[in-house]
Symmetry: C2
Subunit: 355 residues, 2 copies
Amino acid sequence: MSSSSDFAIEIQKVQDSKISDVDFDNITFGNTFTDYMLVCDFKNGEWQKPIIKPYEPFLIDPSAKVFHYGQAIFEGMKAYKDEHDEVWLFRPDENFHRFNKSAVRMAMPEVPEVVFMEGLKTIIDLERNWVKSGLGNTLYIRPFMIAIGSGVIAQPSTQYRFMIILSPAKSYYSGAVKVVIADHYSRAANGGIGAAKAAGNYSAQFYPTKLANDKGFQQIIWTDDATHTKLEEAGTMNVFFRINDTLYTAPTSERILDGVTRKSIIALAKREGIDVQERSVLVDEIVAAAQNSTLKEIFGAGTAAVVSPIAAFSYQEIEYVLPVIEDSFASQLKDKLTKIQYKLAEDTFGWTVKI
Amino acid sequence: MSSSSDFAIEIQKVQDSKISDVDFDNITFGNTFTDYMLVCDFKNGEWQKPIIKPYEPFLIDPSAKVFHYGQAIFEGMKAYKDEHDEVWLFRPDENFHRFNKSAVRMAMPEVPEVVFMEGLKTIIDLERNWVKSGLGNTLYIRPFMIAIGSGVIAQPSTQYRFMIILSPAKSYYSGAVKVVIADHYSRAANGGIGAAKAAGNYSAQFYPTKLANDKGFQQIIWTDDATHTKLEEAGTMNVFFRINDTLYTAPTSERILDGVTRKSIIALAKREGIDVQERSVLVDEIVAAAQNSTLKEIFGAGTAAVVSPIAAFSYQEIEYVLPVIEDSFASQLKDKLTKIQYKLAEDTFGWTVKI
């Protein structure tokens, strides 16, 4: 298959929509799915025709390589509805390119741009009733790819399945988020897969996160695994630190995910005249800044969480509480970002794409 | 469920065995499966009744957490047939304990000993015709567990599936194995999941291994990710280095799998009077030993590969060829190990368990 027309999407209609069963005011993140899913298989060395069909379980062999060797990658995106009932994506090209970077690192085939982008547009257009208007209401979009080829030998699969599934969502976190700074466990190795949105990166964090949860903390800020002196990311969010009026965040690396929200926040902050520095942020300097009260804010940035202010952090069993400040960078930047996403402010960056 | 009797295994018989379709003399590793699989689900906080049923694909939700967050672990084991047609396992207790250590690290529920051990014995007993006699013939056993709970939120699943599948096998590698010593990519982080037999550890190696394959090397010997100066393991095998008449291997750590073949080789070598040292092995000392001809052997040790002699290694684009020696430690130790496994020599260690 080589031309776009080979990838024309077949649509198999559902009998009845499930939408009337959904209580959109009381929805938990990631548990409700829309009527359709997009499926596109890779076999015999090429991508097959994409199909949009009713969302449902599928059959897979017990020896499928995704179960044994973890060949699986994903993206997280959102669609937003504006006041005129138009539906918008936010920087989908960034997710597409990152998806294929993840694919390369995990020895999986790259998905053709037409399959990813036209697939997104077609399925979201079909499901536009599931995108509710109003700030905070979104349709969470989960493109992912898994190795479906069979065989218990540790080698890349020859068969893959690319899918897009959709889940209506409200905001991800509620309440004050307290974090632990990692001093033993780690998320990523030098020369590892930390920069890829690979499934295995997430389950690796569950146990240390559970230990943090048991002590009353919701998330971990990971540090470099060799020295545990450099602050990196929070696993589902990149992290920003405000000391006085300067905003610091770790540079992306092979250990850190190149977050779309991260780079958007940096661009917005710079436009607002905020001094943003992308450089290694040391645990010691953040602890010192907390002690001398120059540490004003810490916040996470990610698609699911958007911008998530951190209320306190713990490092080596000592808890540091952050001040509650008016008109924080976090709230200013979140406001500017969401207004662009919902088309309530002019998109001077050209980030939004209409469905 | 709390007593063993609650885990009594139900068996659903196949109509006809597939065994007569299998050409046991021309079998590739990991692609042929026996008639049955064992399935035991975890839900509502407890393990359900195990079932042995015909091997077949099963239905799973597109949002299953194994696809998105990589909660998946496995073990690799083998069954052997002796000259009296009895079938034996090799140190299955080691695999059981390691499986549950992996489960803890990946925030998955531990599998009850009765489910794992009686499950193994029952399914292998049922499939004993698939275990062929003769050195090199084995039944490869793959116990594994995956997160089958649905939902695209990065949290541990509440539902899991433990399975055992079986694949008749001959020896894993053929021909001389040449390896690359890693100087950029890495397998595991300090504080990471390298010591767990987690699915994500394997796919993370596929891309660097493909780069090595493209240069004519089959495997990579991983080094520590922080300095790339310490030799660790080969991803599907632990690694031994013989300098003069001393055998060196890296100590197990949170970055290195505690291999059953590794510890058996160490015990056998010690019994033979070989000086075995478990300590950090530096790249520099191996390169120096290769240059001054004191490096006599390198070999891998793992369940699938058993003992796999390394013919040459490459480090920073320079290739070092190992001498071909008579009566190598690798061949001596492989011979002693396999004779115990096939009941051709007395098992003074008590490693073998009859089905």
